[in-house]
Symmetry: C2
Subunit: 432 residues, 2 copies
């Protein structure tokens, strides 16, 4: 991969090999519109096109009229993977130093000053208009560890787990972009879960947790009543990926979740990273999923077997006084189901997935125990052991003022493909 | 209540006491826009306003600019209950024969011919842009009966049931308006549920069922992190009501639903009736909910105790050869939780409800057994007994070609307030 003439730090997630898409607003143009990330800069696509016109900026690519001026990436996503690929390649020409590269931006100092804006100076917005959000449970080691805690070793994984990607409908209205403050939810909880009869109280969650996940955005929709073939799902129906923190109030969840699943324990907030990494950019990092010895139904059989990604993931906890501790390191390869399998299963009965719909992978934990866990629930064995932090601090669950930062990237230094940060700080509102 | 000069059959759901809102398109104006129902006619509000102007049609009511030309009722809903009340009252003046009534439409033959269109000649659309759909489980007799079937008498109702309105996030993308054909879903099912190890197959659902529910649309949103007080929810946050058929594939549901709740067993289709009956129109039919002896948390305590509605509901099954049988008659009063309680609980942790969001009550069944059940699952005791139909036909679950029609209305003949029909016909697609 060639280099970019824009300075890219070796540790940057946003090398020329990445080119993720996001929605920004700037002091010069406060209406949300599209950009890509390169190094520590955002390239304002609306600005670039307004200067050179669509035909000169993206020659030969149809359907882009007005697309990058919109407040979400939905119109772009809908154009399908062929267009995404062409646009990304063209941006690599514009931003690259290869002999074939374009001088459109590089040699225009005035345009560079206007179109290349430091990421820390732009405001990021939710990249997509998300119609429906579905959260799966494909992280095998997480599902097993939590299953043991909630239902005992005998029933840790339900009989259906290895036959289908278990998932449930999440809440779209509370999905927020990285940086949005996270309000500690009030809910019904059992202070003494063992007491009979069970007597809940209403109060702030005492067991506020995180879930480290990968999120996947749908590009082309399927019609109601028609299913998506597992081998057509990628790249046919996948736009790209983000990091996702499925904040979870364990005490609320434990009391409410039978028989219809998680509700208020989850629907108060879900944070996603702002830059959508395109399916193409993650292709070099494909890996084999967690082995599933169960014979699959035909509709879940993939021709391609390296169907998940080996992306290094980490979770950092920053306390109110600034102490930073990476509390988990793992990889997104620890899934037993791929996103194409999730899509095939989700649409098997004819459920329509629309452009912009979001699928969560489920919490990703490694096989190695606490230091590879995607949730505090696992790290602390259900709140029984503390996670030690720098500065002699410790946690079972999150305190007010704690900040959680998820990071994920793959590839060698200088040519990394990553998500940037997915950040949320916990607070308790005084106003109820 | 005065009468309308538009002919209203005594059995019509759409008397002058109702005035429900919907989205229509017509041969003269094929762009979806707003209307109200009166008798067997639809009054085209866009047409009425284009003739007389907003100030003459709705004098003194602010915020209506362009609202009735939109393809959904969201903008109208967002204006809040004060505006909904004023608009409905003004339409009762325009359509009524009282001395105070307006001659705006009645005395203008040419306008009447264009603005009053037979309902059977208009196409109805989904009335709202539905961001999120939440389905509750507030029908006490249903929850108990199904709980016995799924988990035995001992665990029929989970300990949380009487402490909070149990609910789960549904699928918004597959909500369709009455009349839309319903595709029988394919899914993973256990042909022999007792066999060990459990071995699913993939095929069309053999246990396709209905659920008779009331749906409630949100008007004013709450901010993320802020809860709605149970006593402010109605009319502060409620726009109006529809009938809702939560089609359910019981065999798919049984296998998939642990531990995260219903998914493909539900997300293939949900049908709603097209006319939104405003909160004000149902006010005269308030009734006491099913008694709940459990002491409630403060946030669920309502000042008003007649917090559900006594609306007569019925379910009709029409076979492919035209035989019609009413298989259930019950009332919407058989709920243990009111919509204000559902809203208070849903937002307790700060989950934002947006304008147009839909809440389902959960299946409504009466206490009297089969003939009052809101699902075939209950009527047939889990598929063990047949429901007899006219013409010596019988069903356990739905066959292809079957049509289900839900109806609901309250009040005396000639002044009825009802929903019209909520219809869906089942078919199996040859194309997979």
């Amino acid at each position: 991969m060639a280099e970019s003439w824009v300075p890219v730090a070796p540790s940057s997630d946003f090398s020329l090999a990445n080119i993720p898409f996001g929605i920004i607003s700037t002091s010069a143009d406060p209406t949300p519109h599209a950009a890509v990330a390169i190094g520590a800069e955002a390239l304002d696509l609306k600005m670039l096109i307004s200067q050179h016109g669509l035909e000169k900026t993206f020659p030969g690519i149809d359907g882009l009229e007005g697309v990058f001026s919109q407040p979400t990436l939905n119109a772009f996503a809908r154009l399908g993977s062929g267009v995404h690929r062409s646009v990304r390649r063209r941006l690599q020409e514009i931003l690259g130093t290869a002999p074939s590269s374009s001088s459109l931006l590089r040699d225009d100092e005035e345009l560079r000053a206007r179109a290349l804006i430091a990421q820390k100076k732009v405001k990021m917005h939710l990249p997509m208009d998300i119609g429906d959000y579905t959260d799966f449970y494909a992280g095998y080691h997480h599902a097993h560890a939590v299953g043991v805690m909630f239902r005992g070793l005998q029933n840790a994984l339900q009989p259906n787990y290895s036959h289908l990607p278990v998932g449930y409908h999440g809440r779209a209205s509370s999905i927020v972009v990285s940086g949005t403050p996270i309000h500690r939810p009030v809910g019904q909880i059992l202070l003494d879960p063992a007491a009979e009869p069970k007597q809940p109280t209403a109060g702030p969650s005492r067991r506020l947790d995180i879930e480290l996940e990968l999120g996947c955005f749908i590009s082309r929709p399927n019609k109601m009543g028609e299913s998506v073939d597992v081998n057509d799902a990628n790249p046919g129906h996948i736009f790209g990926y983000v990091l996702l923190n499925d904040w979870s109030a364990r005490d609320i969840q434990t009391w409410e979740y039978v028989p219809l699943g998680p509700f208020n324990g989850k629907n108060f907030a879900t944070t996603i990273s702002p830059w959508v990494v395109l399916a193409d950019a993650l292709k070099p990092f494909r890996a084999k999923a967690v082995d599933n010895p169960t014979p699959l139904q035909d509709y879940l059989k993939e021709q391609q077997t390296d169907n998940v990604f080996d992306i290094d993931l980490e979770v950092e906890l920053t306390t109110a006084d600034g102490g930073e501790t990476v509390i988990s390191r793992t990889s997104s390869k620890h899934l037993m189901w791929s996103f194409p399998q999730m899509i095939a299963h989700h649409t098997l009965g004819g459920c329509p997935l629309r452009t912009g719909d979001l699928l969560g992978s489920g919490t990703i934990s490694g096989p190695g125990g606490e230091g590879e866990s995607g949730s505090l629930l696992e790290m602390t064995h259900g709140g029984k052991r503390e996670v030690l932090l720098s500065g002699m601090d410790a946690r079972t669950f999150l305190k007010d003022g704690d900040t959680i930062t998820l990071r994920g990237s793959a590839g060698p230094r200088g040519a990394r493909v990553g998500f940037g940060e997915c950040v949320g700080r916990v607070y308790t509102s005084l106003r109820r």
